[in-house]
């Protein structure tokens, strides 16, 4: 088997797998499965990147997403009802319009991809793309890279501040109920857990 044929076969497998896995993310009832289908999709894209010689990026994508998807899975088990999908159910709204939007964006982008004339200038250099990336990150684009780093730092601090129990203005739960009716009264208790709330009986229709 020639090398380019092997690459083509691998591409079809990985890219097709990535798309199928992406679709299955929204077709399963089990939250853990949803998270790991998404991971499978990232693994497929990571593999395609490796095929495209962006080895470092592909591997880092896998490294990052394995951790993130696991956190996501645990998150959903923590917060969501029916984590294992024992109860078949759908939790979609505006299903029709969402489908249309998805199809339209796919069709539009695919059309651009097929019709538009991109310059045909494949990568020719034999240099290690990882080394090129390293030189770029710490050379010309250092400022951009550093900005990304600072953004991440700010995000870390910000998300801890948002998520932690004691925020900047005291206990997060304080004053979270509806405002009191009389100015001197203490805040009313928290609203009922929304599970029985009749607001969203329409949430099932697809």
């Amino acid at each position: 088997m020639s090398r380019s044929l092997a690459v083509d076969v691998a591409f079809v497998l990985f890219a097709g797998g990535a798309v199928v896995a992406a679709w299955l993310v929204f077709r399963t009832d089990s939250m853990v499965r949803a998270a790991y289908w998404l991971l499978a999709s990232f693994l497929g894209v990571g593999a395609v990147m490796v095929l495209l010689h962006a080895r470092f990026l592909g591997l880092v994508l896998v490294l990052m997403m394995a951790g993130e998807m696991t956190i996501m899975a645990v998150f959903m088990v923590m917060f969501m009802m029916n984590p294992a999908g024992l109860n078949p159910m759908t939790m979609v709204h505006q299903h029709g319009s969402a489908k249309v939007a998805g199809l339209v964006s796919f069709a539009g982008l695919a059309l651009v991809g097929i019709v538009a004339e991109f310059p045909d200038r494949p990568r020719t250099s034999d240099a290690d793309p990882t080394a090129e990336l390293g030189v770029e990150l710490l050379g010309d684009s250092m400022l951009i890279f550093e900005t990304a780093g600072v953004t991440l730092l700010a995000t870390m601090i910000g998300s801890i501040a948002v998520a932690s129990k004691r925020g900047r203005f005291g206990d997060a739960e304080e004053g979270s109920g509806p405002p009191p009716l009389e100015p001197t009264a203490r805040p009313a208790p928290e609203p009922e857990p929304a599970m029985e709330d009749h607001d969203h009986e329409g949430m099932h229709h697809g």
């Binding site: 853990v32 080895r55 470092f56 591997l59 490294l63 951790g67 899975a73 645990v74």
Partner: protein, 306 residues
């Protein structure tokens, strides 16, 4: 390399390593327990246990996530195999000395975390599930030190390839140049293979944790897979910190095997001497002590490499 030969080499290394690990563990357990031992028995024992497991029927639980359950050991074994493939087993001989070997290793170890969690989750049983949660809490806290010490080891080599890192240790090994590296690496590595004091995921206090519900061939596969991970960790540790194939007199491949076995023996000894860590306390230690130490390691190694 021919794909069949590549699979054979990787499988052979993992299999031999896992068997050696089982023998070492059996010998150490008998030594610590003060049980009389015949070497012949100690050497054959793992094969006997494996044979028994192979003959035992696999059991199931009520409504498990069967595919994920079956996938989990395969995922661990595949990731261990990917890691092994990138390590040069002798000078100039690696199954696939990819240019970003240690990034590949980091990615493989991150996917190991997924495998262990899936194994706990899919059994649909409380103790395995708690084991899976425990593993995530632990694994997330040593992914970071693991990545940092590997980066530090790559600095003097000015390359992410494991072969280049080994080549850079011709003068002095990284274990001497970066004394913080190997201990931190071993803590993280033992944790990823949930071995010894870090076996919270499969601990005795959870009746076996994620493995509490598996029997027969599935149990065999799981025990093998986790040993594969530990072997991959030891092999990578031997290459990255102990100078890989470098060594006098003996051929490089022998040095590599000896160093790997030495690391495996060290983990076995730690496993029989150190009590299981408390989850919460260890997570605090990992974030507040291990990560800063790993950062120091990176800074110092970087300064030295300049």
């Amino acid at each position: 390399m021919n794909p069949v030969a590549a699979v054979g080499v990787v499988g052979g290394v993992l299999g031999a390593g896992a068997y050696a690990l089982a023998v070492l563990d059996g010998a150490a357990a008998r030594g610590v327990a003060g049980m009389p031992r015949r070497w012949a028995d100690v050497v054959v024992e793992p094969a006997r246990d494996a044979a028994l497991l192979a003959l035992t029927r696999r059991s199931t639980t009520e409504r498990p996530d069967a595919q994920a359950w079956a996938l989990a050991p395969g995922l661990l074994a595949a990731m261990a195999g990917a890691a092994v493939a990138s390590v040069p087993l002798a000078e100039g001989f690696a199954v696939a000395d990819v240019a970003d070997g240690i990034v590949l290793f980091g990615a493989a170890m991150a996917v190991v975390m997924v495998g262990v969690y899936l194994h706990g989750w899919s059994a649909n049983s409380p103790f395995p599930l708690v084991g899976g949660y425990r593993f995530i809490a632990l694994a997330l806290s040593y992914e970071m030190p693991l990545a940092l010490v590997l980066i530090a080891a790559a600095l003097p080599a000015e390359s992410l390839s494991v072969g280049a890192i080994v080549a850079s240790q011709a003068g002095s090994w990284n274990v001497v140049r970066q004394p913080l590296g190997l201990p931190l690496y071993l803590v993280a590595g033992m944790g990823l293979a949930f071995w010894g004091p870090l076996d919270g995921a499969d601990g005795a206090d959870l009746a076996g944790g994620t493995a509490a519900e598996v029997s027969g061939p599935a149990r065999l596969a799981w025990e093998l897979a986790r040993r594969f991970v530990l072997v991959a960790v030891a092999l990578m540790g031997a290459a990255v910190f102990l100078g890989g194939w470098h060594g006098p007199v003996l051929p490089g491949a022998v040095w590599m095997a000896l160093k790997t076995l030495a690391l495996l023996a060290l983990t076995v000894a730690i496993g029989h001497r150190v009590a299981r860590v408390r989850l919460e306390r260890f997570v605090v230690v990992a974030w507040a002590v291990l990560i800063p130490l790993a950062l120091v390691d990176v800074f110092v190694s970087g300064a030295l490499a300049l």
